[in-house]
């Protein structure tokens, strides 16, 4: 054959091997992303080590300290800064005197566990539904589309409140929260997966797979799923902070984890009446929530931009539905 003379040209699409390296190379140059990753990592370590830290400070998240609050003044903690002291680093809870530092740490466990679990569930359902809609015939697509519409039209927070009332109390609450958020919040994922599938299935290399005589399922597994990984993972990066907020909102509405288990939303919910009398009580969970959501948003953004700068802005719009306001 004749010698090949033309030089390699840049190409669209990112191969799997290069992606991780490329993402890392781009992330390395963004200090904000690195700081966020560090903050999240620290938070995960702190949350995981909560019992250890509780033992270290000698505080139990559930132990009452009646002597630390002023019973005659509504139970406001004695002392400045919400009763912060050498024993209670971040002060104590009004009314009970429970240690806030340890409760915050335990609260982080719930927030992270529920957010990550719910995200996984949303992605899973969204993938299955989106693929089915994208690959199925007109009827399947139409039906799933309407189902998604119904889901979007549902007031999610309210339905979650109703659902948590239906389920027996002995059902583990964190799991229930994961299920409720996961089952109600997959519409965005499925829409993205469907849109991507519609694009992908007309790509030549997917058509080519048909010419090799492979069936639909095999095509979906070998050609579509790997290509969907990038958009879906980047969308997941947006979903995690969103779900942290949704969990907090549900707890704020009083349908989160069962007391006395602490969660940030539940702390905020009880704290909201205290913001003049004991500002520290509000600022601690609010600040924790803020830092966590901010860090995961910044990191998610950076990862997404690193993976596909152009796709980034489009995905953002898809999150409008899950907003808890």
């Amino acid at each position: 054959m004749t010698a090949v003379t033309d030089a390699p040209a840049p190409v669209a699409g990112t191969p799997a091997t290069g992606a991780a390296r490329q993402v890392w190379r781009r992330l390395r140059t963004r200090p904000a992303a690195l700081v966020s990753a560090a903050v999240l990592l620290l938070l995960i370590v702190l949350a995981a080590a909560a019992p250890l830290l509780a033992a270290l400070t000698g505080q139990d998240p559930y132990a009452y300290h009646d002597e630390l609050v002023d019973s005659a003044r509504g139970g406001v903690p004695h002392g400045a800064f919400g009763g912060a002291s050498a024993d209670h680093w971040l002060g104590v809870e009004p009314g009970t005197g429970r240690d806030l530092f340890v409760r915050l740490l335990y609260g982080a466990r719930i927030s992270l566990l529920v957010a990550v679990g719910a995200t996984a569930l949303q992605i899973l359902i969204g993938l299955v539904v989106g693929l089915a809609a994208g690959l199925g015939n007109r009827w399947v697509d139409g039906l799933l589309g309407r189902v998604t519409d119904v889901l979007v039209a549902l007031p999610m927070l309210v339905l979650a409140v109703a659902l948590t009332a239906v389920v027996p109390r002995d059902f583990p609450r964190p799991l229930l929260l994961i299920l409720v958020i996961g089952l109600l919040g997959w519409a965005g994922t499925s829409r993205i997966v469907r849109a991507q599938t519609l694009v992908l299935k007309n790509l030549d290399h997917v058509s080519a797979a048909r010419l090799a005589g492979s069936g639909r399922r095999r095509t979906a597994r070998r050609e579509l799923l790997p290509a969907l990984a990038a958009p879906v993972l980047t969308y997941a990066a947006i979903l995690v902070p969103t779900n942290i907020v949704v969990e907090a909102s549900l707890s704020f509405l009083g349908v989160g984890v069962t007391p006395p288990t602490p969660s940030w939303g539940q702390m905020l919910s009880t704290a909201q009446t205290w913001f003049r009398a004991d500002p520290a009580y509000v600022l601690l969970p609010a600040g924790s929530l803020f830092v966590t959501v901010l860090a995961s948003t910044v990191l998610g953004d950076a990862v997404r931009t690193a993976l596909d700068p152009r796709e980034a802005s489009r995905l953002r719009v898809g999150t409008a539905k899950e907003t808890a306001r």
Binding site: T5, P15, L211, A227
Partner: protein, 560 residues
């Protein structure tokens, strides 16, 4: 056309100095993969009223030169060295106000893709008026009137009304006319046209080139034409500068360079360009068995009132060892027909027989035994390979099962060797290959299935002309060797002529003419075929002028 014919010779350029002067221009970009030198010490001059074509394949740096003339690299991080003077102004160093005067006022740019080059939200007339007012202190109303005037001038019918249309309401050719009108509205001294006709069909391309010629003749504007198509250069330029890898390869009057190229690269380039007067294939082999027969094939998309008929009443026969060329302009339905032939699309009506057996209505499962026998080579070698899998993996999927792991691997190596690639690269990913190499992988993949019929859907249109020649040659070799039936789909009449035994011409979903190469090209029966042939640029400027004159005399040949 001569400088003296220009009513505005009192430009800033001192007498005797060229209108555009580029000396030792070097442009470098920083990319993630290191510094790329797009233009390397290039020099050129363009006198007022003259036309210079920059010709080169992709990556030759020709568009970068055009952008440098308007200072479009400013603020992008590109490093520009050397001297550029446009009518005495240095676009790289001029203060912003002067630079803005230069842009449009002195040198107006006409971009390649007319759809994206216009603001989708604004009426075309308003866009032209806006640009006009940037260079002429006139009222809004006057500017709008001027916009209508120039639109009328570039041949937009009912210009006053169409000026209120938005770009998407125009056809591709009309948009390109509107872009020319925009340039015209500024009364520039030089028009820089960057691949102005690449996105257009051949008949529309001819119209635009004719218009460009006419306008230049009328206003005496100089032209810097950037193109990959030697034919376009031959049609439009006085001088040609061949570029490769950012450097000048050869420069000279267009007739001289095309007729007697001095540089080996130019020669190779010209040899690779398919011509309507070039060699044809040896006569078709004796009649083989009919492999694939289509009778009255039809395809509709959508349903009900919104249904669109893409192909209707398409009948053709393909025999073993034969190449059937399928030509047509964009939207003619040739790709749809090609995909129906390999059953990637389900025909809405008609019959499709493979070796006598009806396969047009088989479902996916019953179709499976035939799948591997009918293969397709895709147009875009980048998207037809899964970027996440090695090419060896992609090809192996097409090797019939039962060969065994080691056997499959040996077969893949064999195939890679067969299509001229290094067999050791089977574990490489598609992005590590060039466009031409990827197309070879695509061919190897089609061959792996041991097919009897291969439909090639514009297999070379995304490739540079020298690579085109190599890939078409490969296809011809393989066909002869394996006795395949080949359907070669292309918009380029010259390419089809070079590879085909028989040719079918499609227009608006129908096959309007079908016959041997000699019949169709030498004695076209259908007027559409005739207009297509008339629109193909010639490589000889003299001939081009003649044909332009003929088109002007017979508007029906162009007035599609």
């Amino acid at each position: 056309m001569t400088p003296t014919a220009d009513p505005r010779t009192t430009g800033h350029a001192p007498a005797g100095r060229p209108l555009v002067e580029v000396r030792d221009l070097t442009v470098e970009f920083d990319t993630a993969d290191g510094t790329v030198r797009a233009v390397d010490r290039l020099s050129l001059t363009l006198d007022a009223g003259r036309a210079l074509a920059l010709v080169g394949e992709s990556g030759s740096g020709k568009s970068t030169v055009a952008a440098a003339l308007l200072g479009l690299h400013r603020g992008t991080g590109a490093r520009v060295t050397g001297t550029v003077l446009v009518d005495g102004t240095d676009p790289a160093a001029a203060p912003p106000a002067v630079l803005r005067r230069l842009r449009g006022g002195l040198a107006a740019m006409v971009f390649q893709d007319p759809l994206s080059a216009l603001d989708p939200y604004l009426a075309i007339g308003d866009q032209i008026a806006e640009v006009h007012r940037l260079h002429h202190p006139v009222s809004r109303r006057a500017a709008r009137a001027r916009a209508v005037e120039v639109l009328d001038r570039v041949g937009i019918p009912d210009a006053a009304r169409r000026a209120r249309s938005r770009p998407h309401e125009f056809s591709g050719g009309m948009r390109q006319r509107a872009l020319l009108a925009m340039a015209l509205a500024c009364d520039p001294r030089v028009v820089v046209a960057d691949e102005p006709t690449t996105a257009l069909d051949v008949t529309v391309q001819a119209q635009i080139l004719d218009l460009l010629h006419e306008l230049r003749h009328e206003t005496g504007t100089a032209l810097l034409l950037v193109t990959h198509d030697v034919g376009v250069a031959a049609e439009s330029a006085d001088e040609v500068l061949v570029m490769r890898g950012g450097r000048e390869v050869e420069r000279g009057p267009v007739g001289r360079v095309l007729a007697a190229p001095a540089a080996p690269y130019t020669r190779r380039l010209l040899d690779a360009v398919p011509r309507l007067d070039g060699p044809v294939r040896p006569p078709a082999p004796p009649e083989g068995e009919p492999l694939l027969e289509a009778v009255g094939l039809r395809k509709e998309f959508g349903r009900g009132r919104s249904a669109v008929t893409a192909v209707t009443d398409a009948s053709l026969t393909l025999r073993a060892g034969e190449t059937l060329g399928l030509v047509g302009e964009s939207g003619s339905g040739k790709t749809t027909l090609g995909r129906m032939l390999v059953r990637l699309l389900d025909p809405t009506g008609g019959e499709l027989r493979y070796r006598g057996e009806e396969i047009g209505r088989l479902d996916e499962r019953r179709l499976r035994p035939f799948r591997r026998e009918l293969q397709l080579v895709f147009q875009d070698p980048a998207s037809s390979l899964n970027p996440r899998r090695t090419i060896g993996d992609s090809i192996a999927e097409f090797v019939p099962r039962g060969t065994g792991g080691a056997g499959t691997r040996a077969r893949v190596r064999d195939l890679l060797d067969r299509v001229g690639l290094d067999p050791d690269r089977l574990d490489a990913y598609p992005h590590e290959f060039s466009g031409g190499q990827r197309q070879r992988v695509g061919i190897a993949r089609a061959l792996a299935a041991e097919p009897r019929v291969i439909v090639c859907d514009e297999p070379v249109s995304a490739l540079d002309v020298t690579t085109q020649a190599q890939v078409t040659a490969l296809l011809c070799d393989l066909q002869a060797e394996l006795g395949l039936g080949l359907v070669f789909i292309a918009h380029d009449l010259a390419v089809v002529r070079r590879v085909s035994d028989r040719v079918a011409v499609m227009r608006a979903g129908r096959i309007v003419e079908q016959g041997t190469v000699a019949e169709v090209y030498d004695t076209p029966a259908d007027p559409y075929t005739r207009s297509l042939l008339a629109a193909v640029p010639a490589l000889d400027p003299v001939l081009a002028a003649e044909r332009r004159a003929r088109r002007a005399r017979h508007p029906e040949l162009a007035g599609i």
